[in-house]
Symmetry: none
Subunit: 195 residues, 4 copies
DNA sequence: AATGAATGAGAGTTCATTCAT
DNA sequence: AATGAATGAACTCTCATTCAT
């Protein structure tokens, strides 16, 4: 039941927003009563916190696996992490959007906890890029911090438009992103190089 | 007064969220009473709609100027639009974040209107890229739609981390984004090309 | 209106108890709506606090007048304070009972404030008795503190049984209490003194 | 277990109040579950009723012993009953306070039963005083009813301030009360008799 | 142009109680 | 003898909105 409540809430929070979704909405959706909700969750806040933790901890775990995979080079790791995010759209889109939009509604205690895990993810990404720079995979003069923000912006934005059931597969999208990031979009053979 | 209400609301909506900000919060902030608010705005909704329209229409206008500037090549236009967005962070950050987060709270009538203007902006961007492909500035095999989403994701995300008062100027950030997008991050001189 | 709410609440709180009286009960009694209540009072707590302060401050004021009246001897002052309390039963019975029963439901901040004023009243009483001992009106070996508690117990208890509309007037009750306290109940002329 | 529930409840009801104490509070305090509570008590009401009956019946029993002790004169009986109440503060303070504060929360059926026993106690007290008047121990012109209310007020109030572990023993307090009641506080040797 | 009083619907939460196991 | 899941009614409080002035 506790899990059913969370699943329903994720759907509704993503759809209408955390504040706009009432406990009544959630329990109506499940055909139970408000008392039931409060049997499993101390408050609406706690539910939101659980959704956040669930999401970010899952993401961190998967990221770690990629980063610690010594069989992969930097380019492969980059691919894997981007793919990791993109492929999570299918299963985690709603959680991810809640994660990115509703953090403000967490209370102070959890805001900080979540903020730190979010940062851990970003810094893990960034370190991987710095490694790639050191080992010569990536250009030497890159701003790894900004590049990280840029990559995350690009992938995170995908949660708002990419449809994994559509014409483009997750692998293809990841490939396209990689091509852009690795080689750029400038046509060097147009006779007006670096115009 | 009407404008003062909007400015206060933008600040508060960005800070706490639309639903979490009460009319009382707004009028307290200004030291007036609720009656005043309703003298100028029919409803909270209408205020939100005005904030949305204000933002997107300003953006569209500026975009048009760039797109219609026949003195600029595709690369320059790309630079200008990215710079347009980045430099709006200083003056429009709060509006932009509200625009990207609170659209859900518009009523059906305005949802559609805003959605279309948002799309107009995106398609304008996309067309510019397609032109660049046609005229040989950009690589021929690019997916202009996805590239547009990617670029927008990158720039829009900047609203959440970039500090225009910080060590990095708006021009520098735009330059860095351009370098990444135009030439990529792969180090081709590492002896292991396209590893 | 604010005052009407307080008067209604005093009646209801005394009748059913603070916790057992809902805001709904109060506004139903007055034929208004819950919103009205919260227009005048920030919370149910605040209302309770106001009732407490109203009561104890009124009492302290009247006590001060008696204590500062230099035309009165100690016995007269004793009479006056007892009469003060007894005669307040007619107009303040409900407030007094709330004051004595519901202090627990105040929040910490106000608990302390009220506790101090309550103590001020008691210590004022006690000092008056000590004066009477010093000036020879009362017996020299009395425990003024315990006597004060005893007197207060006796008078406060009256709020639960004395009916000012009944056969006994306020003056008569005060007189009876005075007689007991001044001269005791023991019949010294019974041939078996101090049996 | 049933008794442990009652003991825990007495502590909590006295501390926070009947309405403010939830069944959950009680069972948490004991480390059991709500089901257990309802195995032993039909309802929260029933528990409150049991606490009331327990208290008043114990008191009545002890009172009866005193009243029926033909070896005691009226003054001794008075002493014994006051001592009975004062000494019950140590063991029964919490029950007594609940008894005096929470009667309102009993349902109609039990309100009446309790009211009658409470009255029986008071009338027993009063009769004893009337006997003392008849047999010449007490002054002939006393209002026994009011005197009884006064005595009870004085002793009952002690439940809110007297600390049996403090500097004053139960015997001493009773003695002080007796002195006041028997002989009064007026100093007859001050040269201004009955001033 | 602005106020202050009032509304009414709905929010999150608590809680005594029931019942199958 | 005791549990844990579930209920449903009631509770305090919030808030967008209205309207006479």
């Amino acid at each position: 039941m506790k899990d059913k409540i969370m699943q329903a809430s994720i759907r509704l929070f993503d759809d209408k927003g955390y504040s706009e979704t009432s406990i009544q909405d959630i329990v109506d959706y499940l055909g139970v009563t408000k008392g039931s909700f409060y049997y499993y969750y101390k408050s609406k806040q706690e539910l939101l916190k659980d959704i956040h933790l669930n999401y970010i901890e899952g993401l961190l775990e998967k990221q770690e696996q990629v980063l610690n995979d010594s069989s992969k080079g930097s380019v492969d790791k980059l691919y894997s992490i981007i793919f990791l995010v993109i492929s999570s759209i299918r299963t985690q889109r709603q959680s991810a959007r809640i994660f990115n939009r509703e953090g403000r509604n967490l209370d102070e205690t959890h805001t900080e906890e979540i903020r730190q895990k979010r940062q851990t993810f970003r810094l893990g990404f960034q370190q991987m890029i710095e490694e790639g720079i050191k080992n010569g995979s990536f250009k030497p003069d890159l701003r790894s911090d900004i590049l990280t923000f840029g990559l995350l912006g690009m992938t995170n934005w995908s949660f708002y438009w990419f449809n994994p059931e559509g014409e483009l597969s997750e692998e293809e999208l990841t490939r396209i992103y990689m091509d852009i990031f690795l080689y750029g979009i400038k046509n060097e053979e147009d006779g007006n190089p670096r115009k």
